[in-house]
Subunit: 110 residues, 2 copies
DNA sequence: AATATTAATCGCAATATTGCAATATTAAAA
DNA sequence: TTTTAATATTGCAATATTGCGATTAATATT
């Protein structure tokens, strides 16, 4: 035990969980916000921006990338990271959908 | 090590991380979806709905409650759980905001 | 009062995450 | 080609999460 029983849930539930989990750490939220705030397609400035060591940041970047929230392009020795719009869109759409359901059945609950 | 360095991040980053983390498990996504789909304010039916044992579900409910995504009201021997609109709204607003930023600086990135 | 019913808590094992120092990899620059 | 740079990977310690059986707590019901 200790491992998530993903096989019991729907694809969408698992997908949302993966995306949400990727944002389930303040450092990763900070990375996404930083990428949004920067005009140019910055690279390892992220390490300087965050109060974490380089390997730790690298690890967080990897997780965000695996989840589909950011993309990375090699550019010489540097790597250009930027937001993966698709992942963000999926989350936005999901919460939009959920909020709609909420509005519909408002006040039928405790 | 092993513990998240929350003190280095902003309150909002931490708050979003807590909310996202709560949805970072398919069972908890499933619970939220179930609560949205049910008209009446059900209680322990969640246990029957999910492929998990009662203590495990109870644990997930606790986490969702701590994060502010659901509420629980005691109703006799049963407990009535339902969506906490505030938590959902916060996520929706956050992603709405992020998506807006994305649209603004579209194509300035890789 | 005795008994069911509902849900939380405890305690544990298995596994995952966080964070970093040290090291490896890769490609530009000298 | 050696050096420098930017990142990734490895390996490890500390901690957190997941899941469940057993138990407990609290309230209805009989």
């Amino acid at each position: 035990m200790g491992a998530t029983k993903t096989e019991h849930f729907t694809d969408i539930q698992n997908e949302i969980a993966i995306l949400a989990k990727a944002l389930g750490h303040p450092a990763r939220v900070a990375i996404v916000e930083y990428l949004l705030s920067v005009n140019t397609c910055i690279c390892g400035d992220i390490v300087n921006e965050l109060p974490l060591a380089q390997p730790t940041v690298s690890q967080h970047l990897k997780e965000l990338k695996n989840a589909g929230l950011i993309k990375g392009t090699i550019e010489g020795t540097a790597i250009c990271y930027c937001i993966d719009e698709e992942g963000i869109q999926k989350l936005q759409n999901y919460f939009g959908h959920i909020t709609t359901q909420l509005v519909i059945k408002k006040s039928t609950c405790c």
